[in-house]
């Protein structure tokens, strides 16, 4: 072992610390972006043409904002919004500072996924609920979020997995975490074993997230 992974054994504590940082960044930004994205996705679906609170001008603006934010490559976004980051967090370095670009980078993606998932609920069921005299609020909670739940869980899993990837990119530019260790130590110092172990840990994280997501989705699909 010590021959195959000499540097890893020497840096055990750092790698453990980096893993925790990656989990921290993923979880916190997932929660914040999750709330923002879910709300945005809901607003998109109810205001889109044919939606229960159709509002074409509003929808077209929000739709364009979402598209625009989704088009910016994450590594550029990190740099571009650093003034905002330093205004909000007081610094542009470290895991907490990374949360700002992570949230802004992922929530539009999640919002679009949520919109697509909720569209799957179908106009028929929504129309049936309208014909029963339900208010828009009741339709959102009892129809959209209920019928679309399994799909929302599926896209959430997907989003969290993408988020893990983004944390490593943020890590490479000073946010810490496994990305940082893999690049600035493993890659820069030619300690390939460190890079390799970071990758394995990331893969394990992704598998665990996928497993939990699948389990949750299964629970909510009933046939």
């Amino acid at each position: 072992m010590s021959q195959l992974f000499p540097n890893v054994i020497a840096m055990q504590a750092d790698i453990w610390q980096a893993t925790l940082e990656t989990i921290y960044m993923t979880v916190v930004s997932a929660v914040i972006a999750g709330v923002l994205g879910l709300l945005t996705g809901l607003v998109l679906v109810v205001t889109q043409p044919g939606g229960i609170a159709e509002d074409r001008p509003f929808y077209s603006i929000l739709d364009k904002i979402v598209n625009l934010l989704r088009s910016i490559p994450f590594i550029i976004l990190l740099a571009v919004i650093s003034p905002l980051t330093s205004f909000l967090v007081g610094t542009t370095v470290g895991t907490t500072a990374a949360l700002v670009p992570l949230v802004i980078g992922i929530f539009p993606f999640y919002a679009r996924q949520v919109q697509l998932a909720l569209q799957e609920v179908g106009t028929g069921v929504v129309e049936a609920a309208q014909s029963m005299g339900l208010s828009n609020q009741e339709i959102i909670f009892r129809v959209y979020l209920r019928e679309g739940l399994a799909d929302i869980i599926r896209v959430s899993t997907l989003t969290v997995i993408s988020l893990v990837g983004l944390t490593t990119m943020a890590g490479a530019v000073g946010a810490g975490g496994l990305g940082n260790v893999a690049i600035s130590i493993g890659y820069a110092r030619f300690q390939n074993d460190v890079t390799f172990v970071c990758m394995i840990i990331l893969l394990v994280l992704v598998f665990v997230i996928q497993f939990i997501g699948d389990r949750l989705a299964d629970r909510f699909i009933k046939f």
């Binding site: 005299g133 009933k222 046939f223």
Partner: protein, 346 residues
């Protein structure tokens, strides 16, 4: 089943237009319609005629561009949001594709419209079970929609539509996705509900059988307009419009028979329609004897429209006095058409 004539639904000069690619489409064109309490009113037309848009006016799933929709003498457009939601609860609706919620059990689907009502959990459950019993599905309460057949799903949808004790049931092609046997059983259920609960039913369909089986009155729709309406038997006794006649022909398979016969010679072929009292086929024999004609029956069928019997026959007449024979038939009240002419027109 019209006990005391009292309009429950009134459309007054209703118009619906859509804008598509800068062109205006008029889906409903100045339709005025009165539907009385306790009756089953059917609207028939081909797809694209505007039936779906028209029927959605009744609960304002479609808001009219112009004109008024009155339900129980209330103008739906003049209600507050709360009043409007309450009014909608009294108009049940069923759909071609059932629109059940797949994530909920059958029982929960039927309970669904009651979630906003002030009922205890038990009361709600009791109510839903009673409704499932009404549609004869109580044993499937705990199943999920995906486990049910189309006919069963529509029964659940009917139970759900009745949860708020509506006095109107709106049916948007409710039997169009079902096979003929299942269609009949759903129609019988609707008829029973109409009789037992005094439910007013408005339905749209493209199937003449639906009209024949349960409707009291019918409106024939084409290009956004109701071109003909009245009691089912009367409309079909004296169809004024070509489209109405076409639906009758479809019902008796005339079109199909014609398309088969048209391959052969058309001379001396006649389409005979016996409507109501003239459904006496001895007329043909009498004619044949009187005018010394050979009458060869190529096709014959009889159908029922409410209490009206309609018979159809395609005859090949041969002999010296064909014209006299045809006149004789017309004197007896039979509608006679020369098929050669009919084909030319088409």
């Amino acid at each position: 089943m019209v006990k005391n004539k009292q309009p429950v639904i009134e459309l007054q000069e209703a118009v619906v237009t859509f804008e598509r690619n800068n062109s205006k489409i008029t889906a409903v064109d100045h339709v005025s319609l009165t539907i009385d309490r306790g009756e089953i009113y059917g609207i028939i037309g081909y797809s694209g005629a505007g039936k779906s848009t028209l029927i959605r006016l009744v609960n304002h799933l479609q808001v009219p561009t112009a004109g008024k929709v009155l339900v129980n003498q209330q103008d739906l457009a003049g209600l507050t949001k709360h009043q409007f939601q309450q009014a909608r609860k009294k108009i049940g609706m069923i759909f071609q594709h059932f629109n059940l919620m797949n994530s909920r059990t059958i029982l929960n689907n039927v309970e669904f419209p009651l979630l906003g009502e002030k009922l205890s959990k038990n009361e709600r459950r009791e109510k839903a079970l009673a409704l499932l019993k009404l549609v004869e599905l109580e044993e499937l309460a705990d199943a999920f929609p995906d486990q049910l057949s189309g006919g069963q799903k529509q029964r659940v949808a009917i139970a759900r539509a009745l949860a708020n004790n509506p006095d109107i049931l709106v049916s948007d092609e409710a039997t169009s996705a079902l096979d003929p046997k299942t269609t009949l059983s759903i129609l019988k259920l609707l008829q029973r509900l109409n009789q037992q609960l005094g439910l007013t039913i408005v339905l749209i369909t493209h199937e003449i059988q639906v009209i024949q089986t349960i409707c009291h009155r019918v409106g024939v729709m084409e290009a956004g307009k109701i071109i003909e309406q009245g009691k089912v038997a009367e409309v079909f006794r004296h169809p004024k419009e070509r489209l109405t006649e076409e639906f009758i022909d479809t019902s008796i398979n005339v079109q199909e028979a014609l398309s088969r016969i048209q391959q052969k010679r058309l001379d001396n072929l006649f389409l005979l329609k016996f409507i109501g009292e003239t459904t006496n086929q001895a007329v043909v024999t009498e004619m044949a004897q009187k005018y010394a004609l050979s009458a060869n029956i190529l096709f014959a069928n009889v159908d029922q429209f409410d209490d009206l019997t309609v018979g159809v026959m395609i005859l090949a007449l041969n002999g010296p006095e064909v014209a006299g024979g045809v006149d004789y038939l017309r004197e007896q009240g039979v509608r006679v058409e020369e098929i050669a002419k009919r084909v030319k027109q088409a």
